[in-house]
């Protein structure tokens, strides 16, 4: 029996408690406690292999946590009886490699899950899709196939696709890391707009400028643990921990 998730929007958007994750014998997450409040933009930074992407992917259970609790808007998603598809449909996800569906047009990329998962009518789905395409500045490309778009355009379509499900929050997994430098700005602009509308966002990124300017909280991870977290301006300007200092001296 699937339990119907009772969504509580007054609770923390994401609440992670004592999360451990092993890949085989390799402990990638070593007891993470972490939370994102409603409307907050939290940026997660750290060297590669620090577990930041794994943490993000555990939040919509693309990775299965080994132990610990993850509560999203009052619903414990680590409960094996919870309907994980329903949980995921409320959490938008944007990937480093875009992962648009190459056999479908841009418009169909945005409508297919609305119709199949949200059960919206075709007309409603198309209307929502067009609104979101306009929001990311690609209203004129709805008939194109993904292969005919630049990387930056593909990533903006991917954001519009996630937004079309009317999610309560958005997860970004290094959204600009696969882009040519001159295309990064357009994608960050879209994310900045989203943040200013009050969207709850968890962003794994190397863009320290974005974290400083838009983020409400910065989390620095290394070796599967959270080393330091706090106001991005403070952490970036005056890191307390020596591992944070070492990392920031290399990337800033």
């Amino acid at each position: 029996m699937m339990t119907e998730p009772a969504i509580d929007r007054s609770a923390a958007a994401i609440d992670v408690q004592d999360l451990h994750k092993y890949f085989g014998d390799n402990e990638v997450l070593k007891g993470i406690d972490f939370h994102v409040d409603q409307g907050q933009v939290v940026c997660v930074v750290g060297p590669s292999g620090s577990g930041k992407s794994t943490l993000l992917r555990c939040v919509n259970r693309l990775e299965e946590p080994t132990s610990g609790r993850i509560v999203v808007e009052g619903v414990e998603i680590t409960d094996p009886d919870v309907d994980v598809d329903k949980v995921r449909s409320r959490i938008g996800m944007v990937f480093q490699q875009f992962n648009l569906f190459p056999h479908l047009t841009v418009l169909r990329n945005l409508t297919i899950a609305q119709q199949r998962v949200r059960r919206r009518s075709k007309d409603e789905a198309v209307e929502v899709a067009r609104t979101n395409l306009a929001k990311v500045g690609l209203a004129d490309r709805e008939d194109a196939y993904p292969a005919h778009l630049s990387g930056g355009q593909q990533q903006r379509v991917a954001i519009a696709r996630a937004l079309s499900m009317s999610p309560d929050m958005m997860l970004f997994d290094e959204p600009t890391s696969a882009l040519d430098p001159e295309l990064v700005g357009d994608v960050l602009d879209v994310m900045r707009d989203l943040a200013s509308e009050g969207m709850t966002m968890m962003v794994v990124t190397h863009e320290m400028g974005f974290a400083r300017e838009v983020g409400h909280k910065l989390v620095f991870m290394d070796g599967g643990v959270i080393v330091e977290e706090g106001d991005p301006r403070k952490v970036l300007a005056d890191p307390q921990h020596e591992r944070t200092q070492a990392f920031l001296s290399k990337v800033l």
């Binding site: 693309l62 329903k86 995921r88 449909s89 990937f95 992962n99 569906f101 190459p102 998962v117 196939y145």
Partner: protein
């Protein structure tokens, strides 16, 4: 005097063309064209074959192949999904089935279905008569081959596609049906065409059943004509009709591939 590589290549190619031309001339001179035409392209025999060779034989070959391929495709998809299943027994059953029917000659399967079934289940035949036997036999053999092709196609779709579909809230089945399988079929279009062409030819094996006149397909029809006229013309005509099926098929698929390539 040393020749430049370009000159040497030109001379070597010239020699190849000359040898080829001599061979062609020699063959043309050796052949008695009157005899050749009488034995292989006898217009009286050709006139006699029409229209039955089209309305019965060609039609039956197409129907047999279409039914066998359709059943094989569905079976192959089911077997491929079973091979990829996380449930052990599904994988084992599918693997055993695939190895069995890939290894057996199609002729053996036809004979087993025609004569083995009535022995194994006294008084029972494969339902659907001739068409039933062809569909089942071609489907079993073709399905076993296509299962491995389809499995490889599904595995060739990047993992991120499934993840993106699941992160939008699609169930595993929905993501397979709407996102992964359509992309897999684009990848495996060429080998699937191959399988369809092979099945077109294998449909001739139904002769072991012993066919009523109305159920004859191309090969059987050609052999009957050969026997009754004591002349090869019948076989030449049905041979050409096989090409009439397979060549347009190849052209259509090449077009579809080109269209899929543009969307890439």
């Amino acid at each position: 005097m040393a020749l430049s590589p370009r000159k040497r290549a030109r001379i070597s190619r010239g020699i190849q063309y000359a040898v080829l031309a001599v061979l062609v001339v020699a063959i043309l001179l050796a052949v008695d064209f009157g005899e050749l035409k009488r034995a292989f392209w006898n217009t009286e025999v050709i006139a006699e074959m029409f229209p039955d060779v089209l309305t019965v034989a060609l039609k039956n070959t197409i129907i047999y192949t279409a039914c066998g391929f359709s059943f094989g495709l569905v079976l192959g998809l089911v077997l491929a999904l079973m091979r990829l299943s996380s449930v052990g027994p599904y994988r084992w059953v599918a693997t055993g089935f695939i190895e069995l029917f890939r290894g057996l000659p199609a002729l053996v399967v036809f004979i087993a279905l025609t004569f083995g079934i009535p022995l194994a289940f006294p008084g029972r035949l494969v339902p659907g008569g001739t068409l039933g036997v062809v569909t089942l036999a071609l489907g079993l053999v073709g399905g076993a081959y296509m299962a491995e092709t389809i499995r490889a196609g599904i595995q060739a779709v990047p993992k991120g596609q499934m993840e993106a579909a699941r992160s939008l809230g699609m169930s595993h089945t929905r993501a397979m049906v709407s996102i992964v399988i359509p992309q897999a079929f684009r990848i495996i279009l060429p080998p699937l065409t191959n399988e369809l062409i092979l099945l077109t030819k294998d449909s001739s094996l139904i002769y072991v059943v012993g066919l009523a006149a109305g159920a004859q397909e191309l090969t059987k029809f050609g052999r009957e004509t050969m026997n009754s006229t004591n002349n090869m013309t019948g076989l030449v005509v049905v041979g050409l009709l096989y090409l009439v099926i397979t060549v347009p098929l190849a052209i259509v698929v090449r077009r579809m591939e080109a269209r899929a390539e543009r969307a890439r």
